[in-house]
Symmetry: C6
Subunit: 234 residues, 6 copies
């Protein structure tokens, strides 16, 4: 394969599984059920960029800016200064006001993203975003356009996605996994007759680069997500 520029996720063990990081200017979904650390993954990805001098945008349909800052702070990531320095923008979209939010997504947001010059954009979560649209067709259409628009700015886009409660390999809408260039699955494994839950990570899809197909255990620690690349999941 020809070399593709890589973007470090800030999760060391995962970057190893990806042989360097995510492919640059691509869209990647982080898929998992509640409690698997999807938001933490997104924050860590943005924080890694900020640490390295890059700009980032964190679009949230779940929490407001203060809550997000506190969330990051609980992992030791102090994001407030980056906001003041215009290195980081936190965009809050209202998941309960479809009409206004859709207007913002279609008009303001593209302009803002193009102008801000971020190299990393996180969307938390695409499942809440999809809820704003009624038909599968509208969901898919909006998703395609948004991904296309972001990729054209050269930014790498990471979107979190909730999974179906009866299938951890499928997103809630069954759309995003086919629309993105890569899918990373965070899974909550309840092993039979085992008294401990294990969190595991796997790279299910990653266009244009080589990647590991191994299943690795990870933990959510006081420093964020840590993938144990040297350990076996089972």
């Amino acid at each position: 394969m020809i070399d593709m520029d890589r973007v470090k996720t800030g999760i060391e063990g995962l970057d190893e599984m990806l042989e360097g990081g995510l492919p640059k200017s691509q869209a990647v979904a982080v898929m998992g059920s509640f409690g698997t650390g999807k938001t933490t993954f997104g924050l860590q990805f943005v924080q890694e960029g900020l640490r390295a001098g890059e700009k980032g945008i964190f679009i949230s349909l779940e929490e407001d800016q203060e809550s997000i800052l506190n969330n990051a702070r609980s992992y030791g990531w102090e994001l407030a200064p980056y906001i003041e320095q215009k290195k980081l923008a936190i965009v809050k979209l209202e998941p309960t006001d479809a009409k206004t939010t859709i207007t913002r997504i279609k008009s303001e947001l593209p302009d803002f993203i193009k102008t801000f010059g971020a190299s990393r954009i996180v969307l938390d979560s695409v499942s809440l975003l999809n809820l704003l649209f009624e038909s599968d067709h509208d969901k898919r259409s909006n998703l395609f356009n948004l991904i296309q628009m972001i990729k054209r700015t050269g930014a790498t886009c990471l979107m979190t996605a909730e999974v179906r409660d009866d299938n951890p390999n499928a997103s809630r809408d069954g759309l995003v996994e086919y629309a993105v260039d890569g899918v990373i699955a965070l899974r909550y494994e309840e092993l039979k007759d085992k008294a401990e839950i294990q969190l595991t990570i796997r790279v299910m899809k990653m266009r244009r680069i080589q990647h590991s197909r191994r299943v690795k255990p990870y933990a959510i620690t006081s420093k964020g997500i840590e993938v144990h690349a040297a350990a076996e999941a089972f």
Copy 2:
């Protein structure tokens, strides 16, 4: 992680699993099927606060005040005096009269909650609350607003949730587990070829704090819920 203020649940073994208790001013769901002690959990949480001099509100869509007092009494918790002392308020919402109840939730309830000054609020159950609304969108919208409103008062909010009958890891509506900061699952385990049912507890999600990922057995005793933190579930 930075230190977050903790709120003891009153269930010793669980507070151990949470390394101190629930994170303060957050919203947490207690999820389980019928017979797993969700209401008992809620009463125990309120009782723990009252015992420590805090104020509490218990919002019920299931039972009226007398029934709730009797229920608590069966565990040795005498709540009536707290009501007289204006330390505890029991709010009964009618699950079968959508129009009136929604009006109360949107107008009276916020004012009451803000004025009463409770540090613990229990909602029993969010599944019955959701039934008042017709569309998924309205359910989610109301839920987001209610949680937001309660959290702004500084109170810690605990809501019980029924689970899907074919999946103990998903709430009946599949919404609350994503809307809250934490999820505690009470499960009814029917082990193959075993002649006894085991009740187990696990912390599935808890934003901003570290927590155990172990599965622990618990029992509903004459003193309420007792988690056997030292025992193994299987």
Copy 3:
């Protein structure tokens, strides 16, 4: 736990599992698929009361009075004299005539129940009752009101419920198990590679009292339901 008055079910082994019997003035569902003896359970519960000098009402949506008397007779319970003595009333509701039956449930039935002075009321079955109503909301609303009304008379209420054909732990409507104070499950166990079906009983929920969480085998004999409390189910 404080002592609650108990009501013997007439099924010795089950009363043992319940540490004395059902809690008085509560509503309990007996849940099971066809052929597990739900109606027999209801008859046995009424017969036990009559034998002890209590009054009972048996509300049936399945069989008419003659059929019910014959049914009881096949277990050696002669109920006809109790009807003559006004100790027992059998109320037949038409499951196929929604309009008339709903009117009877809302007007006549409450008056009758309040006047008759029964201490035991059986509803066979709540699944057929629910069929009279179209929306989930109406089903739940009617169920809540009926249970409330009966409990206020001081009577203990037992209702039989059909289960979902793909899940013996859930009633057909998924409502009654959450609306009642207790749930007793009768199950038809088809053990892999075993040439005999085993009937098993478990107490899944019983508010306000302590109860066994064991699974016990039972049989339908010429004397009614017999729970083998000393045996193991598997």
Copy 4:
């Protein structure tokens, strides 16, 4: 249990499982997937009565009289003479002409059944009958009325029922098993890694009589259904 009059099914091993035969003047469903011999069971039941001098009615929504006679003939049962002697009536209902057939079921059929004086009535199949009605309510209502009407004539009624393709323990509509007094299940068992299909029979429900709960193998031979009561199914 008090003695109930019994009706021999003509299947020796099954009569043994039933401790004498089906309870007289009751309604029983024979439930099974295609190829398990439901129609054969019905023919055998009618033939057994004719052989003993009783009258029978065979109501078919599947095959016409000639086809039914041929079918019986293939087991060595010559039914034509009984028709001539007015001992047997074959009633063909059109499953594809709802309006006409419903009219016949509601008007002609009851009169005919009352007049003919049969002691055995077979309905093949209740699943096709149910297809004539649109709502669950109408299906259940018609079924209740038909069963009631037949039982009042003193005849024993046997109805065949198709099962759900994903659950051999539930009829296609999930109604008949709750409406009848007894259920006999014919099952097609595909044992893992076994190169032969086994047909098994079990009595799942039989009100008012004692019956075996064992699972027995059976075969469809040149003499009809033969239950191997002495053999074990697995």
Copy 5:
């Protein structure tokens, strides 16, 4: 059982399982998922008849005449001469033009079938035929009438049917298996941890004749379907 005339399928091992062949003038479904050789089965059945001097009709909703001839040719069966000799007719029905096709099925086809004088008729596939009709009622009604009409001509009718993707024992519509006299299932078996797919055949239903209940492996070879009657499937 009395002797029924038999029709050889042309698949030797299967004729053995059927103790001679299919029962004459009956309707039989061959059910299986894509890739199990249903069309090949139909062609082989027609070819066997032609070889023995019988006439045949092959009704296809899938492929046109040229494609069908090529398909047969790939197994060494040269059907074109039979068409010229008016021994074989290939009827192409358009699966995508419901209105025209239904008209043809209701008017032309019956006349054609009655006049042509075929002793073997293949319908490939009944699943595509059913797609032309909207309601279950219309599908079942058309199917009953078509089968009835063909059987009256004395021809033996074989129809291929697609299966549900989650249940190889049920046809896509769940109708044909109950409407026909016999069902032969072709199955694609994916044995756990085995690196080879096995094709297996079983006779699930065959009215009026005795048949094997064994599961046999088969292969699709250069000579068509070959059932290994002497081998065990597992």
Copy 6:
């Protein structure tokens, strides 16, 4: 079987399983979940043709020309020169603009395909194509016509298809596997308690030719898809 002309896929191990390659002028579906390399398969198939001097058309509903060229480039396939030489055409269809795209599919596309003279045509993906149509009937109708039209040009047609998230043996719509001449399944195997995902390939259906029924492991390497024909999958 008579010899059919074969078309090499460019995947050596697979051509071996197919005893030479795909049958010429047929339509074949490559079915798999996200991340199994369906698009890579399509590119490799086109590239193999170009390498051998054939013409190809790559119809994409997923990515635009630049993205597709980059995608191919990552495997070392430089397709741009072929476009300049009019040997390769990349047709982008908008999956989000149903009306325009359907018009293009029905008018322009057939003309273009007939004129261009390609011997290999890839459609990526038929699942996105199907989304443009609302009813199952329209999807099936369009699919049949498109396949028919392409096959008449003599080209071999390969279409990628997404699978149902709960069944890797069925396409999302359950249509394409029955409409095409062949199906190749790419599967993502998550072996129990194994810490590595295995990709496997199997030929599920291939009309008119003999093929292996073995399950083979494959990998997506820097040179495209490599099937390990000599290895065992499990």
